[in-house]
């Protein structure tokens, strides 16, 4: 465990250094945070026209999507594309030669970017939330800790989900497309298109049991103070359950897939 900690520290330092090296890319990445705000504009137009929706007014939608912009940046991972590229082009060979599961390289690379987001974007969101009269997150310390943990859990689940799909690259070259399909369904059920509270009860109940809510809807519901302790506990249990499912899937697919690896190119 101490070894793994040392390895993570070293890999995180390089991931952080690389994130800083690509200032332009980092800037564009931060700018991409405005995508959830596009959905916010759509919902504000509806609310202005039709009045509050199931108790959700302007302030609620603004609070939700400003927070969602940050949560999305912290839980979204793009490792599946990297797995796909590594396996298809043979770049995985370099990682396979070392006494470390390649998962950890991708994990730390993502963590390096998340650190970058925390340092540069999170303070901006806090300032905007503080200055804007329409944004309100009334949080107790306990709720804030639960929110932070839920974001971390959402990130870990995304990482495991992305990797379980990624190692399918040992069998197919279409993994990234397959994941895009999964991700598309996921966006709808995560709370990105609309807060899950606005969904019909039946769909909402299904969404609560699926893994996608953990990456946005669950942390946002905690941030907006909408969940009881019991509901928070349930959300964590679902997230943890899916983490275990995808971890097992990843390990099994990895063990079977690695036998098929062809280490092409050089």
């Amino acid at each position: 465990m101490r070894d793994l900690f040392r390895i993570y520290r070293a890999l995180l330092q390089t991931a952080w250094a690389r994130a800083l090296e690509f200032r332009g890319q980092a800037g564009i990445w931060i700018l991409s945070s405005i995508f959830p705000l596009v959905m916010m504009v759509v919902w504000l137009a509806i609310v202005d026209e039709a009045g509050p929706l199931i108790g959700w007014g302007r302030g609620d939608f603004i609070s939700y999507y400003v927070g969602a912009a940050l949560v999305h940046q912290l839980t979204f991972v793009w490792s599946v594309w990297q797995w796909d590229d590594d396996i298809r082009t043979g770049h995985l060979s370099v990682k396979l030669l070392k006494p470390l599961d390649p998962f950890h390289y991708l994990m730390t690379e993502q963590l390096g970017w998340k650190l970058f987001i925390l340092v540069f974007l999170a303070p901006l969101v806090v300032v905007v939330a503080w200055l804007s009269p329409e944004i309100s997150y009334s949080l107790t310390v306990e709720q804030f800790v639960a929110f932070a943990l839920s974001v971390a859990a959402g990130f870990v689940l995304s990482m495991l989900m992305s990797s379980a799909f990624g190692v399918l690259g040992f069998w197919s070259t279409q993994v990234a497309n397959l994941y895009s399909l999964w991700f598309g369904v996921g966006q709808f059920l995560s709370g990105w298109i609309a807060p899950l509270a606005l969904f019909p009860a039946g769909i909402r109940q299904v969404a609560y049991m699926l893994p996608f809510r953990a990456t946005m809807g669950f942390p946002m519901a905690i941030l907006m103070g909408q969940l009881t302790r019991l509901e928070i506990g349930f959300g964590f249990a679902v997230t943890l359950g899916w983490c275990v499912v995808f971890l097992i899937l990843y390990r099994i697919l990895w063990r079977l897939g690695i036998r098929r690896y062809e280490a092409v190119g050089a």
Binding site: A10, A17, R18, L97, K98, P99, R259, A263, A266
Partner: protein
């Protein structure tokens, strides 16, 4: 005690064929045609501790595939491989810490950061204690003259500089077995010599076993007394380089520089004329007759200069391969 044991190793691939163009793509979409490629087809050999062995073969002969099986990147189709008592494809942590594979066409260095960052990451991943890390790094920096390179971004390094850093990154954990796949590929003559000398020093200092592939025959002749020749996945020769030369080319080359042109018949009486450019003549002379032929040439011909040489190893190897394909 043998460090590496390879017993009837076989590795076959399924390759999918597709014709060019739209029609070819459509046909391939509905009906794929596969072919089994026998990249390695039942090779066996042993390598002892501290031995340097050259692995020779034309492109596609199966050298790299064999190295990948030895380093655990590929699952063998059949046969067995043990290295330092480990089965490579099981990828045990202690095995991964005990060897290195340097691929001349692949890069483990972090592309956008200075090489030192990769060294530090490798220290953590291989769990190299700080003192040993500093000692090894100082040693590698001195041997490969890395000092000015450590703080430069890897992408700004020349090919030769990058290969030196690549080697250092691969050896910081002091592996006992080195698999080197074209380590001097694309390097100029000076850089090639530096890498060769370094490999030899490392081998002597740590008594490491080295299995090396290279297209540059100078690498092999400078480093390896023993060679493995592989073609179309089969082992064609395993043994001493000198013996192979003597067996395959039972002649030496007599190179003459003449003061004036001479009659072709006079030359033919000394040996087989390989080339005749007027004043420069090369003759193939049976090994046993070399001294006598040289003496006769000096006595009978207007010779300005004379040398006796071994045929180039490239030619010998070509000869071995052409025999192999004749038999195939």
């Amino acid at each position: 005690m043998k460090t590496i044991r390879v017993d009837h190793l076989v590795k076959h691939y399924q390759v999918h064929h597709k014709q060019a163009g739209l029609q070819g793509s459509l046909r391939s979409f509905f009906r794929r045609q596969y072919e089994t490629v026998k990249a390695v087809d039942g090779i066996s050999f042993d390598i002892a501790r501290g031995e340097i062995v050259g692995f020779l073969g034309p492109n596609g002969a199966g050298k790299t595939t064999a190295l990948k099986c030895l380093s655990g990147l590929l699952y063998p189709t059949a046969g067995s491989v043990t290295v330092l008592g480990f089965t490579p494809h099981k990828r045990e942590r202690n095995y991964l810490k005990a060897f290195t594979l340097v691929l001349g066409q692949r890069n483990q260095l972090l592309w956008d950061l200075p090489a030192m960052e990769t060294f530090l990451v490798n220290q953590a991943i291989y769990g190299v204690p700080e003192r040993q890390f500093r000692e090894t790094l100082d040693e590698l920096v001195a041997l490969l003259n890395l000092e000015p390179l450590l703080t430069k971004q890897v992408r700004k390094l020349s090919l030769g500089e990058r290969m030196k850093c690549e080697l250092a990154a691969s050896l910081l954990h002091r592996p006992q077995v080195l698999f080197l796949d074209e380590p001097t590929l694309g390097l100029d003559v000076t850089a090639q010599a530096v890498i060769r000398e370094f490999i030899l020093t490392y081998n002597q200092r740590y008594n490491a076993s080295v299995l090396l592939t290279s297209h540059y025959m100078a690498d092999v002749t400078a480093l390896a007394a023993r060679i493995l020749v592989i073609d179309q996945g089969k082992l064609m020769y395993d043994g001493d380089l000198g013996v192979l030369v003597a067996q395959t080319a039972p002649y030496k080359l007599l190179r003459l520089t003449l003061e004036k042109p001479v009659d072709g018949a006079d030359l033919s009486s000394l040996g087989e004329v390989e080339s005749n450019e007027g004043l420069k003549v090369t003759l193939r002379v049976p090994r046993a007759n070399t001294k006598e032929a040289a003496a006769r040439a000096l006595a009978q011909l207007p010779v300005a200069d004379l040398t006796v040489e071994e045929p180039p190893v490239e030619e010998i190897i070509r000869e071995v391969f052409s025999r192999g394909s004749d038999h195939a």
